[in-house]
C-alpha cells in the first residue's frame, strides 16, 4: 500500500470522525447546540485531531526508525571488520541500496517477476539489470546481494506494517473521539490545547535550526580536526589545498582577506550611510525624504549576486584600468578594493535605515533644547543628537560589519580566489566565505579534509558573526531602554 493511499485513508477517517462526533455530540444534547459545552464544530475538530495527529506521529517515528533498524540488520551480512571504517561503511551501504533499488525498479518495469527477483544470483544480477536498462557501477558480491534482498524484504514489509499501524492508530483515535463526544465533554479546551502545542512546536523551529547549524558544523568540523591539527588550522599562514591530499589549511590568510575587505567596506559604508541618515532625518523635507529614502532602500532589495556581477564587470576593470595599473599597484580586476567598495555600497541602506531609526528615537526635546540655545542644525546633530544616538549607531555599525564578513557572492565574484596576505588593496585576496563555496562545490570526496575544512571555516564564520551580532544587539537594546 503506497503512502498516498495511507494518507487518503486517514483523511477519510478524519472526515468521517468530524461528521460523526459532531452529530453524536448534538444528539447527546437533544439537538440543541446551546446545551453543549462547546460549539458543535469543536467536537468535529477534536475527532480530526485525534484521528490524524497520533497516526502522523507514528508515521514520523517509523520513518526515522526504519533506516536505523535496516542498517543494524544488514550488518549481519558482513564480516565484523568490514564496516568499521566510516567511509567504507557508507560505500557498502550505498551499494546495497543501489542494488535493492535496481531490482525493485526492474520488477516494477516488468523486466522480471517478483519470484525471479528473489532468485537472482550474484553472477547474473548485473547482466539482468543491465538488460532492464538499469546500470550498476560494479560487480555485485554475494554479501551485497543477500543484504540487498533482505533490504528489499524489510522495505516491502516495512511499508505494509507502517500502513497498517498508521491506519490502526488512526482508527483507534477515531473510536476514542467518538466515545467521548457527549454534551459535557470540553471539546474546545482539548482542541485549543492541541493548537497551542502546534504553535509551540512551530516556534521551536528557530531553536532546532540553530541546533542543526551548531551540530552539523561541530560534528563535521570535529571530523576535520581529527585529520588536521587544530592549531595548524587556526594559526597557519598558508592556504594551499591540493587535490591529491597533503594540503595545507591555514586560516590566517583567509581571515586577513575577510577583515581587510570588511574594513574597506566599512570605510565606504559608514560615512555614506551616516550622512545619508542624518540628511534624511534632519534636513530633508518630507517630500524629498519620501522619494530618496525608498530609492536608497532599493539598494538593499537588489540581490547580492547582482552586485557581484557589477563588481566583476564594471567596478573591477574600472579600478584596474584607472587606478591600479597607472599607479603600478597591480593588474587584477578582482581585488580587495573592488569587493570592499561594492560591499560598502550594499551596506549603505542597512546603516542608513538603522541609523535613521536611532536618530529619530532621540527625543525632539533634545533638539529643541539645542535650537533654543541658538545652535545650528549641524551643531545640534554633532553635539547633541549623535552623542545621544552613539550607542545605537555603534550597534548598527557592528551589525553591518557582521554582514560584510558574511557576504559571499560579491567576494566570490569580485575579490578573487588567491589566498594571499598583502597590504596592497588592489591585489586579489580571498575570504572565508569564498573558500567555503570553493571547497564545497569542488569534486573532492565528502570525507576528505579538503571538503571538511569548509565546516571548520563555517564555524569560524558563524562564531565571528554571532559574536558581533550579540554585542550589537546588547548595545542597541540598552540604548532603546534609555529612551523608553
Amino acid at each position: 500500500m503506497s503512502m498516498s493511499m495511507v494518507y487518503l485513508v486517514i483523511a477519510v477517517l478524519a472526515v468521517v470522525g468530524f461528521l460523526l462526533c459532531r452529530a453524536r455530540a448534538l444528539a447527546s444534547a437533544g439537538g440543541e447546540a446551546r446545551n453543549l459545552h462547546s460549539l458543535p464544530n469543536y467536537y468535529g475538530w477534536h475527532a480530526v485531531v485525534m484521528t490524524v495527529l497520533p497516526s502522523l506521529l507514528v508515521l514520523i517515528v517509523w520513518l526515522i526508525a526504519q533506516p536505523i533498524y535496516i542498517e543494524r540488520q544488514l550488518e549481519n551480512y558482513f564480516p565484523p571488520g568490514a564496516l568499521e571504517d566510516d567511509s567504507q561503511r557508507t560505500l557498502i551501504m550505498g551499494d546495497v541500496r543501489r542494488v535493492a533499488a535496481g531490482i525493485e525498479t526492474a520488477v516494477s518495469r516488468g523486466a522480471m517477476t517478483s519470484d525471479e527477483a528473489d532468485a537472482l544470483s550474484p553472477e547474473d544480477v548485473r547482466a539482468r539489470l543491465a538488460a532492464a536498462r538499469i546500470p550498476l557501477g560494479s560487480e555485485v558480491s554475494g554479501q551485497v546481494l543477500d543484504a540487498a534482498q533482505d533490504y528489499r524484504q524489510i522495505v516491502i514489509w516495512g511499508a505494509f506494517g507502517r500502513a497498517a499501524l498508521a491506519i490502526l492508530v488512526s482508527a483507534l483515535g477515531l473510536l476514542y473521539a467518538v466515545s467521548v463526544s457527549n454534551k459535557d465533554f470540553r471539546a474546545r479546551n482539548r482542541v485549543e490545547q492541541v493548537t497551542l502545542g502546534v504553535l509551540i512546536v512551530a516556534s521551536m523551529i528557530a531553536i532546532l535550526t540553530t541546533l542543526g547549524i551548531v551540530l552539523s558544523l561541530v560534528t563535521e568540523a570535529g571530523r576535520f580536526f581529527t585529520m588536521y591539527p587544530f592549531t595548524d588550522f587556526l594559526f597557519g599562514l598558508k592556504w594551499d589545498p591540493k587535490f591529491q591530499g597533503n594540503s595545507t589549511f591555514g586560516l590566517i590568510p583567509l581571515l586577513w582577506g575577510t577583515l581587510y575587505i570588511s574594513l574597506v567596506a566599512m570605510i565606504v559604508a559608514i560615512p555614506l550611510g551616516l550622512f545619508t541618515a542624518i540628511y534624511l532625518s534632519e534636513y530633508a523635507s518630507p517630500r524629498v525624504r519620501s522619494v530618496v529614502k525608498p530609492a536608497i532602500e532599493v539598494i538593499a532589495g537588489i540581490p547580492t549576486v547582482v552586485f557581484g556581477l557589477f563588481a566583476l564587470v564594471t567596478v573591477g576593470p574600472f579600478l584596474r584600468d584607472f587606478i591600479a595599473q597607472p599607479l603600478g599597484l597591480g593588474n587584477s580586476g578582482a581585488s580587495v578594493m573592488t569587493a570592499g567598495i561594492v560591499i560598502g555600497i550594499l551596506n549603505v541602506p542597512f546603516i542608513s535605515s538603522l541609523a535613521d531609526d536611532i536618530i529619530n528615537a532621540v527625543p525632539q526635546a533634545m533638539r529643541d533644547g539645542s535650537y533654543g540655545l541658538g545652535a545650528t542644525p549641524s551643531e545640534t546633530i554633532r553635539q547633541v543628537v549623535l552623542p545621544a544616538a552613539l550607542p545605537g549607531i555603534v550597534g548598527a555599525v557592528l551589525m553591518a560589519g557582521s554582514r560584510a564578513i558574511g557576504e559571499t557572492m560579491i567576494v566570490t565574484m569580485g575579490a578573487g580566489a588567491a589566498a594571499t596576505m598583502s597590504l596592497n588593496p588592489f591585489e586579489a585576496m580571498t575570504t572565508i566565505t569564498v573558500k567555503i563555496v570553493g571547497q564545497l562545490t569542488g569534486d573532492t570526496a565528502f570525507d576528505s579534509p579538503e571538503t571538511l575544512v569548509a565546516f571548520a571555516l563555517g564555524i569560524t564564520l558563524f562564531v565571528i558573526t554571532l559574536a558581533l551580532n550579540i554585542v550589537a544587539l546588547l548595545i542597541v537594546r540598552k540604548y532603546r531602554e534609555q529612551y523608553e
Partner: protein, 273 residues
C-alpha cells in the same frame, strides 16, 4: 523684610515703566500664525517690557505657546508653520531676511515644558551655549561662565561637587534649574519659558518660581503657564489668550482682580478652561 524690599522694588519699577515707556523689549504688531490651514494666532498686538515677568495664560490650544515660540523663531523648525505680521526685538524685525535665527536665539533664550538636559555632563550642558556662540576665550573663562550661570540658576550649591556627572542624573526640579542655567549661560536678553513647572512637583515648582522672580532683574522673562496661581505669583504683566486671540493684556493684579473682558473673567473664575 525681603518681601517688603521686593514690593518696594516692584513699585519703583512699575512707576518707572509707566513714566518712561522706553524699556519696551518686544513689540508684536498684527501677528498671524498659520499651521497649514489652521489659523493659530489671529491679529495679535502686544508690547513686552524689559525686566518684567510677563505671563501668558489661557485654555489649552489658545495659541499662547505658539506665540511664545514665534518670539525666538522656534517655529522655523516646523515646516508647515507660517508667521505674518511684525515682531520687533529692540525695534529690529526678527523675521527680517537679514536676521539669522541662530543669533536671535542667542538673544532670546528658551526653557521648555519638560526638563531636557543633554545626555552630557552638567558642566557640558551649561557650557554648550557659550561654546557654540564663542563667548569664552579660555578654559578659565568658560569655567567662570558656567559657575555664574549655575549660580543664577540657583543650582550651583547642589552640583558644584559633581560638575562632571551626567545632567540626566539630577532630579526633575534640578534638571529644570539646570536647563534655566543653560539658557542664561549665553547671556540672553529675553528668557522664554514654556510651562517650565508643569512637569515638576510642588517643592521644585516653588524653587523654580523663586528663581524666575530673581531672573527678572536681568532679563525680560515671558512665561507660559497653565496655572493661574502661578501667573499671579510670579508675573507683573499678564496676557490672556483665547482661541488664538489676545483677549486682554495688563497688570497682573488688574487682570486677576478686575478683568475688563467677560471672557477673561470667565476663565479666571474657572468657567472656561
Amino acid at each position: 523684610m525681603v518681601n517688603k524690599v521686593n514690593n518696594m522694588l516692584d513699585d519703583a519699577r512699575l512707576k518707572d515703566r509707566t513714566m518712561t515707556g522706553t524699556d519696551i523689549k518686544i513689540t508684536a504688531r498684527n501677528v498671524q500664525v498659520h499651521y497649514g490651514t489652521s489659523h493659530a494666532i489671529k491679529d495679535l498686538n502686544v508690547d513686552i517690557l524689559n525686566n518684567t515677568v510677563t505671563a501668558f495664560i489661557g485654555p489649552s490650544g489658545c495659541g499662547k505657546s505658539t506665540f511664545l515660540r514665534c518670539l525666538n523663531r522656534m517655529n522655523d523648525t516646523i515646516a508647515s508653520c507660517r508667521v505674518d505680521g511684525e515682531i520687533k526685538l529692540d525695534s529690529e524685525d526678527i523675521y527680517d531676511k537679514k536676521v539669522d535665527p541662530v543669533q536671535l536665539r542667542a538673544k532670546v533664550g528658551m526653557v521648555f515644558q519638560k526638563p531636557n538636559p543633554f545626555p552630557k555632563s552638567i558642566y557640558d550642558n551649561v557650557a554648550y551655549g557659550p561654546r557654540i556662540h564663542g563667548l569664552a576665550r579660555s578654559k578659565a573663562d568658560l569655567d567662570d561662565i558656567v559657575e555664574k550661570a549655575l549660580r543664577r540658576g540657583a543650582i550651583w550649591d547642589e552640583v558644584k561637587d559633581r560638575l562632571q556627572s551626567p545632567g540626566t542624573g539630577l532630579s526633575g526640579g534640578q534638571q529644570q534649574r539646570l536647563c534655566i542655567a543653560r539658557a542664561v549661560a549665553t547671556e540672553p536678553e529675553v528668557l522664554l519659558m514654556d510651562e517650565p513647572c508643569s512637569a515638576l512637583d510642588p517643592i521644585a515648582t516653588a524653587q523654580v518660581e523663586e528663581l524666575i522672580d530673581e531672573l527678572k532683574q536681568n532679563y525680560s522673562v515671558v512665561i507660559v503657564t497653565h496655572s493661574m496661581q502661578q501667573a499671579a505669583r510670579v508675573s507683573q504683566k499678564t496676557a490672556f489668550f483665547h482661541l488664538g486671540n489676545l483677549v486682554e493684556y495688563g497688570e497682573t493684579g488688574q487682570i486677576f482682580t478686575n478683568p475688563k473682558d467677560p471672557r477673561t473673567e470667565s476663565y479666571i473664575s474657572g468657567r472656561i478652561g
